[in-house]
């Protein structure tokens, strides 16, 4: 016999879909089917059932092979590594719940760590821009119910947030948007004609790295001022036309992604995108929202926001919180050899940092806390497998629009496996003991 769990939250991307249905065995030990999820979300749930899953901590030996160790040994190694280090980096925090993030932050404070989350390679530059000039934003519910002009800039939700378009941005029928996609105009700005662009009314194939110029041209066009014949590879007629489309809407929403945060210009691109939003509010109602990647990267920004006052790149090594992107950010610290131990939880820098940074992790004492076997676990000295948050343990997560949603436990983790929070609590207790010695 089986039972169906409804209203399950998907712990993959920042869209944090909350309408999944998961079929589990009656004893809650086995996960059998996933409904309503996108291909990536479904795979995440199903992978928790992999037969070859690693279920015990392991330590790398001199010859490169792995040796199984107990959770106690892993806790001891982690606590010693963090207390011995002068300035450890505690990175990740995006694929876990807010409860674990809070415990981790307490450890970071005690050992004088630099706390950084995946925003550092994702929307960190957006956060800098928000601190520069503010952000007029809204919730995804407002987008669904009100937005009739949708602008995707440098993001490709068809691939990265697969259900975003059907749940919130293009297709749903809302309170004031009863016609669904036929009542909306969609503009995509991307150097490639992406799959998202294929469902848009207008695609502006911007020259890669020229986003700032094009955003600036939009501000000129709103005011009806003169533009050069071509800006960033786009003829001026198309820019004027797109600007009019936006101005004529009742509610404009701009979603932006890695195309603007990771291209040259970085935070200044976002400054300009927010300025476009501000200018649009002269004519109609407009809002802007970053397409956050990990399901709880927003949550780690929230937790550190209320604990330390900064959303990422928080340096606690001097006993108080400092924040200076470019100095206290993971890749800069690693490349300049300014940290002497690396702790990773809920992220995979081994796969997603430039290789020069990965090599630095390999050269240092390091621990990776991750349910999966990843390139990070491959370069770390100790790998601690844990339960999947949102699948095998619940906890709070924040959606990309800063709405907190409680994730649900749907299936039991493998016997004897710790959760992120349990492991961190043990490390915290041990750190306190060591510091009291």
């Amino acid at each position: 016999m089986t039972k169906t769990v409804t209203d399950v939250i998907c712990p993959f991307c920042g869209t944090l879909c909350d309408d999944l249905e998961v079929v589990v065995s009656n004893d809650g030990q086995e996960l059998l089917e996933v409904y309503n999820a996108c291909a990536i979300g479904a795979e995440k749930f199903l992978h928790s059932q992999a037969k070859d899953r690693i279920t015990r901590p392991r330590m790398r030996q001199e010859d490169g092979s792995w040796k199984e160790i107990s959770y106690d040994d892993a806790i001891e190694y982690t606590a010693r590594m963090l207390t011995d280090a002068k300035k450890p980096l505690m990175y990740g925090w995006s694929s876990t719940n807010c409860e674990a993030q809070a415990v981790g932050s307490e450890i970071g404070e005690l050992v004088g760590a630099v706390m950084d989350n995946t925003a550092t390679v994702c929307h960190g530059t957006s956060l800098i821009a928000v601190q520069d000039i503010g952000i007029p934003s809204c919730t995804l519910g407002e987008v669904k119910n009100r937005a009739d002009r949708i602008l995707f800039w440098g993001c490709n939700p068809a691939h990265a947030h697969p259900r975003h378009m059907s749940r919130y941005s293009i297709f749903p029928r809302g309170f004031f948007t009863g016609k669904g996609h036929t009542g909306r105009k969609v503009i995509v700005v991307d150097p490639r004609p992406t799959d998202t662009a294929s469902v848009a009314d207008v695609h502006l194939q911007v020259e890669q790295g020229r986003d700032y110029e094009l955003l600036n041209a939009f501000r000129v066009a709103f005011k009806g001022e003169q533009l050069p014949d071509v800006v960033a590879g786009i003829p001026k007629e198309k820019i004027y036309e797109a600007a009019e489309t936006l101005k004529s809407g009742r509610f404009v929403i701009i979603f932006f992604g890695m195309g603007v945060t990771q291209s040259l210009g970085k935070n200044h691109n976002i400054d300009e995108a927010i300025a476009v939003t501000r200018d649009l509010n002269e004519y109609t109602k407009a809002a802007i929202m970053p397409m956050r990647g990990h399901y709880n990267v927003t949550g780690s920004g929230q937790v550190w926001g209320w604990l330390f006052g900064f959303p990422y790149a928080v340096d606690l090594s001097r006993g108080f919180a400092r924040y200076n992107p470019g100095e206290t950010t993971s890749n800069d610290l690693l490349r300049r050899d300014e940290v002497d131990a690396v702790f990773v939880l809920g992220s995979d820098p081994g796969a997603h940092f430039p290789f020069s940074s990965v090599k630095k992790i390999y050269d240092r004492p390091s621990v990776a806390i991750d349910p999966h076997e990843t390139p990070t676990t491959e370069v770390c000295r100790v790998h601690v497998p844990v339960a999947f948050v949102g699948v095998e343990v619940g906890g709070c997560a924040y959606r990309m629009d800063n709405v907190p949603i409680e994730t649900r436990k749907v299936v039991e983790p493998p016997e004897g496996m710790m959760t992120d929070e349990e492991f961190l609590k043990h490390v915290l207790a041990r750190v306190k003991e060591i510091q009291g010695e």
Partner: protein, 133 residues
Amino acid sequence: MAIRVNLITGRTIQQGVSMEAGKEKPAYTTACGIIELDPADFKKLGAFRNTNVRVTSKYGSVIVKAVEATQGPHPGVAYIPMGPWANMVVNPNTYSTGMPTFKGTPVEVEVAKNEPVLSSLELVRKGCRGELA
């Protein structure tokens, strides 16, 4: 014959699915150990589809399989899905923003028919130990 293109990286749905299924599995290499090239760039390169190529930038070098752009045309722009392969060659400079320059790295692509595309774990392991050619 080598060609010069502007490299960008990012997510694809195949990258996401294979990542969640396990980065140690061959499907992850199939999804991310590739470079998407425009048909016009294939012509300049003088290579068949699905040929292994060496991608080289100022910052590193990696072997990946060249495939035809799935979301094109975008002549002059090449795409490697985010992952360890792309990260061997992207510009790691943050220019004081904390953010490496993952998009917009000038790279050179040349045919390397007989060289294998390494798996993700092998690639980072060999890279860290200095065992890469």
